[in-house]
């Protein structure tokens, strides 16, 4: 009995302390080192923030370079497909162009009308200043089962702050949750940690909560509210972070929200620097 206990303790100690050969560090010393790094990072000592920011910037760039081959193959196949479909696409585009020409006139009229109405209501007219819109390239889009986020190539150097809304083609994609000097992390709307106030077509207010899957869900809807298919969902702007009326998606038959922008297909996004509300995200 005592022999087996000795065996256990020898094997246990050896597993923790064993060094030599290729093993320059024992498991125990590395566990201590990892714990120190972990607590320094979690409790955010003054010097850890810039160090972490620098490490992030370097690693994100290396990740971008390392992922180049995996990005190249789908790009080539996409280009080849579009090359063969160019004639058909041209026909379709001509028809669409005609449609948009007629719609443009309508939009101009509505814009003017909207401006005039806002003046009448004496509300602050939100001027979309283009200099406050930053175009950013997606550096890393690692599909993690636990955290749905992307890394973009603009950071504090470009004036990006934590909390700023991120859009693609004017559709809301997420918000900035981590900033470094040359890069930032964007939390996508379908992440489990994402919660934003939204307005539905009929004026109902709700919270759009990420489910960790592709489609987020609606929470805190009015009592007895029944979700039907094809209800448009917009940011309500009640948190002072997102611009009210920014389109997000529409509901499907399961009551989930299908986003207008596929979070798995992002290559360029825009960050709106107009909103600069700081807070805990």
């Amino acid at each position: 009995m005592s022999v087996s206990r000795d065996d256990f303790s020898i094997a246990f100690r050896s597993a923790l302390l064993q060094r030599g050969g290729a093993q320059k560090f024992s498991v125990l010393s590395l566990i201590f080192l990892a714990l120190i790094i972990f607590f320094l990072d979690v409790y955010g000592m003054k010097f850890t923030k810039p160090v972490r920011s620098l490490i992030n910037d370097i690693v994100y760039r290396v990740t971008f370079l390392a992922s180049a081959p995996t990005r190249f193959i789908p790009e080539v196949s996409k280009d080849l497909t579009s090359f063969f479909n160019v004639r058909e696409e041209n026909k379709k585009l001509k028809i669409e162009l005609e449609k948009f020409k007629s719609l443009e006139l309508n939009v101009e009229f509505l814009k003017d009308e909207n401006k005039n109405l806002q003046k009448i209501l004496e509300t602050e007219y939100f001027n979309k200043n283009l200099s406050n819109i930053v175009l950013a390239k997606v550096l890393v889009d690692k599909n993690s089962p636990f955290l749905k986020s992307i890394i973009i190539n603009k950071g504090t150097k470009a004036g990006i702050l934590k909390g700023m809304p991120v859009t693609k083609n004017n559709y809301l994609v997420g918000r900035v949750v981590e900033t470094n000097y040359l890069s930032s992390r964007v939390l996508l709307l379908n992440d489990l940690n994402s919660r934003i106030p939204v307005t539905l077509d009929q004026g109902a207010q709700a919270i759009l909560a990420g489910s960790g899957l592709n489609n987020p869900i609606l929470e805190y809807l009015p009592e007895d509210y029944e979700i039907i298919e094809d209800i448009n969902v917009f940011a309500s702007g009640k948190d002072g972070i997102f611009i009210s009326g920014t389109p997000i998606g529409n509901t499907n038959e399961k009551g989930e929200v299908e986003l207008f922008v596929d979070p798995n297909q992002l290559s360029f996004v825009t960050v709106n620097r107009n909103i600069k509300k700081k807070g805990d995200f």
């Binding site: 094997a11 790094i37 979690v42 993690s144 940690n193």
Partner: protein, 170 residues
């Protein structure tokens, strides 16, 4: 002769390079886009197998460093993946010290224990020391698929070992 030794060295560093590449690149073993619940922690299978079979080609320091890189890319607090990988190394080394002959079945059972210990540490630290929230079902699916995919990768790694590195079991 020198050429052969360089090629052998390259083969020996293959698993370590794969680990680094998985940690730093966008490539992931997460097939949620195809099958919504299929997620897999390939890194821990890779580490466990090679720590058990050929620890000299998977140095502790490299695994620790790969864990740090993984944390930066995934957005986790620094050091948390390293800790979970070190638990895998610890269980793997313990099993290696205690056993004479290993089979796919014994490795599979001991891998389950290593995975459970490592994930308990990982998620309890994340839950208590960060603002990130996780879905328990996702963790469950991840563990389930990682556990059930282990024998497939065991066979593939074993084949790689036999073909390119040479057999030298524990």
């Amino acid at each position: 002769m020198a050429k052969t030794s360089i090629i052998n060295k390259l083969y020996n560093t293959g698993p370590l390079l794969l680990l680094y590449y998985l940690c730093i690149s966008e490539v992931d073993s997460n097939l949620e886009k195809i099958f919504e619940i299929f997620t897999l922690n390939f890194q821990i299978i890779l580490i466990y197998f090679w720590v058990l079979k050929r620890p000299e080609i998977m140095a502790n320091g490299h695994i620790f460093f790969a864990g740090l890189i993984n944390d930066v890319v995934m957005g986790f607090p620094l050091g948390i993946s390293s800790l979970s990988y070190l638990i895998i190394i610890f269980v793997g080394t313990y099993v290696r010290n205690k056993s004479v002959n290993t089979t796919i079945a014994s490795d599979w059972v001991t891998f389950f224990m290593a995975m459970v210990f490592s994930n308990i540490l990982f998620f309890s630290l994340l839950n208590n020391f960060s603002d990130l929230s996780f879905s328990i079902s996702k963790i469950g699916y991840n563990m389930f698929f990682t556990f059930f995919m282990f024998p497939i990768f065991w066979l593939l790694f074993n084949l790689y070992q036999m073909t390119f590195i040479g057999s030298r079991d524990a």
